[in-house]
């Protein structure tokens, strides 16, 4: 009885020792050196794993920073202090990464854009609305206003205003790009926060065809292109676009003659909480241009 017990015990102990030796050899032979600074830098990063830096997560970004392939400033979520701390810890330059924010290429809220119908669907999301005839607006490019971007934003940087437009709070936006992907109309774009000139319209229609559908549409008249420094603006597919790489030359002159306020000078955020008036529902009617100009723009 006692002997059987000893046999069992010695087999187990023998097996244990055998594998212990294998593991001990393997741990020396196959040892991978991992920089302890990766853990430390990762600790200093915000743990948001948002992907704004272009990496799958904070750890992957930390590895890149330590390898010297990215500067700490590329993390848009960290505060400047936190970035300085990482740079100081590693003894490298913090890097001057251009801060990006999400901008909406549409300013046609309930007050500006023609609505041909009302959406009564039980699925109250932009994505659901977009499959039903492209949404109720006469403009096929315009914002649908049900706030898919607000729902997906992890940083509470977006909320919908009373006109049905998403208000992005620039201080909270980390340019992670989630809103860019979810928007069924593809209206969001990530632009440098220091860029002031912006055309808030994606309508490819020109002239009155665009205006019939929305009072703040870009009509491709070209006045802004003429007034700005050469190369700052350009008409592409029936809509004016600011060329981001030329933005150091941007001036307020470009927005002064815009007949529809489609081009704006943004200091921080894009939209107010409300403009008060809402356009009535109905079929498209020719837009009364002179009247509107007096009321809105040449006060």
């Amino acid at each position: 009885m006692m002997q059987e017990f000893l046999v069992g015990l010695s087999i187990l102990v023998g097996l244990g020792l055998f594998f212990a030796v294998i593991l001990a050899v393997a741990s020396i032979k196959l040892k991978v050196f991992e920089d302890p600074r990766i853990d430390q830098v990762e600790d200093m990063l915000p743990h948001a794993n948002c992907g704004a830096c272009g990496q799958p997560g904070c750890r992957a970004f930390a590895e890149l920073v330590i390898a010297g392939e990215a500067s700490p400033g590329k993390c848009t979520v960290s505060s400047p202090d936190a970035i300085e701390k990482i740079a100081g810890f590693l003894g490298i330059d913090a890097g001057t990464e251009e801060r990006l924010v999400a901008r909406l290429r549409c300013a046609g809220g309930k007050a500006e854009a023609h609505h041909l119908a009302e959406y009564h669907g039980t699925l109250k999301t932009c994505r659901g609305e977009a499959v039903v005839n492209g949404g109720p607006k006469a403009c096929t490019w315009g914002c649908l206003g049900l706030g898919d971007c607000m729902d997906i934003c992890d940083f509470d940087a977006i909320h919908m205003n009373e006109d049905g437009l998403p208000v992005v709070i620039p201080d909270l936006c980390v340019a992670c790009g989630d809103c860019v992907e979810i928007c069924p109309k593809g209206l969001f774009e990530l632009l440098p926060a220091s860029q002031h000139l912006y055309v808030q319209c994606k309508s490819e229609l020109e002239g009155d065809l665009a205006l019939n559908r929305c009072s703040v549409a870009c009509t491709a008249c070209g006045k802004c292109v003429a007034d700005a420094h050469p190369g700052v603006l350009e008409i592409q597919n029936g809509v004016a676009r600011v060329l981001t790489d030329q933005r150091q030359m941007e001036t307020r002159e470009a927005i002064k003659r815009c007949p529809t306020n489609a081009i704006v000078w943004i200091e921080s955020g894009q939209f107010k909480e409300s403009t008060g008036s809402h356009r009535p529902l109905g079929q498209m009617e020719p837009f009364t241009f002179e009247e509107d100009l007096e009321n809105r723009y040449w006060q």
Partner: protein, 456 residues
């Protein structure tokens, strides 16, 4: 309309598929009257992308005179078809025009020549004995013929067989299971000769072992007319009545009813040896090869309780919907719900200034009586959607996943197999937007695949 006109031998043995739903038919509104011809209107708008695949390329200039049936846009690539002028007139613009899906697309506008007799110049019938398979396919493509059931998939793509493919059964789809729609019904009754002729032309090139025209049993007059015509001509075609159930007219459901076989996930009907075509497509094929008339007009149903005179109309492609509705007595309700296609799978339309296209099978104007804004409640796990789904998915589970935005898990639960028949949303007592959220999920999953593809 009633099944009592059918021989009793048929009624006892109606074929069908498992699951499905029974919505109210409303076909009595428009099924009795003959097909009317829509008068020519002043302007026509022809979007270039009316079919699935690459949009056609315009071959006319602004200001150019065109004739009725003249090719005005040519196919680009294989999955694309030609587009023809529906009238004698002048091209006034090639610009962005409103399309049915709510988007603005490139299109051709034609001003009708008011003094023209609008007579189509018939061509001598094609010599089918001299024509090989490739010429036949090319002919269908140039004629601009697409599936007339509603999806507008180019017909020639479907009919081009690989050498190893063999058609066991050629099925002509005359089910028309959507409520309200009666255009296929009237086409079968009034164009029986052309339908059978087109079927035989198809059979000549596809060499099927068996030819079946499948019709739901509520269209007894169509079944009897076709049987009579077949007996007179001596064609080897069967007419099979099917049980009245939605979605009986879906391709895979029809195959399941007639062959008793399922088309596997991700496979096409031809992989089980079946070829399904709408009856309207066969009529278009016959008209093209016998008279040279391309697809430039189609029969559609204008119906619903908010339409003055529900009827079936032969409409030139490109006619503004407003004109068609006005021709049918106009709208009798101040705020009707406009639907294109049937009420189960059709799309809400916000703008009647859009033109009729090749895939438009119906214009419905419904009132609050038929459409209610339902209050959505929580899922009570009754399982009715599971019993309704014709492809055996679990819509209740998919609905819950969609609510949570778990798109990847939805894909694991086979949401991509859903063909959006809407039976689950129809039957749900809690009015949960099931099929609507599946559509969204499918769109998102497709976009994600696209992004992954372009990233690599």
């Amino acid at each position: 309309m009633s099944g009592s006109n059918l021989p009793t031998s048929d009624i006892g043995a109606l074929l069908t598929f498992p699951h499905g739903v029974h919505p109210r038919e409303y076909k009595e509104l428009s099924c009795a009257g003959p097909i009317e011809r829509m008068p020519f209107v002043d302007t026509y708008t022809l979007p270039l992308g009316q079919h699935i695949g690459a949009p056609s390329r315009p071959i006319v200039q602004v200001g150019q005179q065109v004739q009725r049936g003249e090719l005005i846009a040519e196919p680009v690539g294989f999955v694309s078809v030609g587009l023809h002028s529906p009238v004698d007139g002048t091209v006034t613009a090639i610009e962005l025009v409103d399309h049915l899906n709510g988007q603005l697309v490139q299109g051709i506008r034609i001003q009708t020549d008011r003094f023209s007799p609008q007579q189509f110049q018939q061509k001598p019938p094609a010599d089918l004995d001299q024509m090989d398979h490739d010429q036949f396919i090319k002919g269908i493509q140039t004629a601009g013929i697409v599936g007339m059931g509603g999806a507008a998939f180019p017909a020639h793509v479907k009919f081009s067989l690989k050498p190893e493919q063999h058609v066991r059964v050629l099925m002509l789809n005359g089910c028309e299971c959507e409520p309200f729609l009666t255009c296929d019904h009237r086409v079968m009754v009034e164009y029986a000769g052309e339908l059978l002729d087109g079927t035989m032309i198809l059979a000549k090139y596809l060499q099927p072992d068996r030819i079946v025209i499948a019709i739901e049993a509520n269209k007894a007059d169509a079944i009897l007319v076709l049987r009579e015509e077949i007996a007179r001509q001596g064609y080897p075609i069967e007419v099979t009545p099917l049980e009245v159930k939605y979605p009986q007219g879906a391709e895979k459901m029809m195959i399941s009813a007639i062959l008793g076989e399922e088309v596997p996930t991700g496979k096409l009907p031809i992989d089980v040896g079946a070829m399904v075509s709408n009856v309207g497509t066969a009529v278009a094929i016959s008209e093209y090869f016998r008279t040279g008339k391309p697809l430039m007009e189609r029969v559609l149903t204008v119906s619903g309780t908010a339409v003055g005179r529900p009827s079936n109309v032969l409409v030139p492609i490109g006619t503004p919907m407003q004109e068609v509705v006005d021709f049918c007595g106009g709208l009798t309700h101040p705020e009707p719900r406009i639907l294109l296609g049937g009420p189960m799978m059709g799309m809400v339309q916000k703008n009647l200034d859009v033109p009729v296209v090749k895939g438009t099978s119906g214009i419905l104007a419904l009132t609050d009586q038929e459409v209610v804004d339902p209050q959505t409640y929580s899922c009570i796990r009754c399982g009715r959607c599971v019993d309704a789904c014709p492809i055996f998915l679990n819509p209740a589970r998919l609905g819950l996943l969609a609510r949570k935005g778990l798109w990847a898990e939805m894909e694991e639960n086979h949401v991509m197999d859903c063909f959006e028949c809407g039976s689950c949303s129809f039957i749900c007592p809690s009015a949960i937007p099931l099929v609507q959220s599946f559509r969204v999920a499918k769109g998102l999953l497709r976009e994600e695949k696209q992004r992954a593809k372009s990233a690599t």
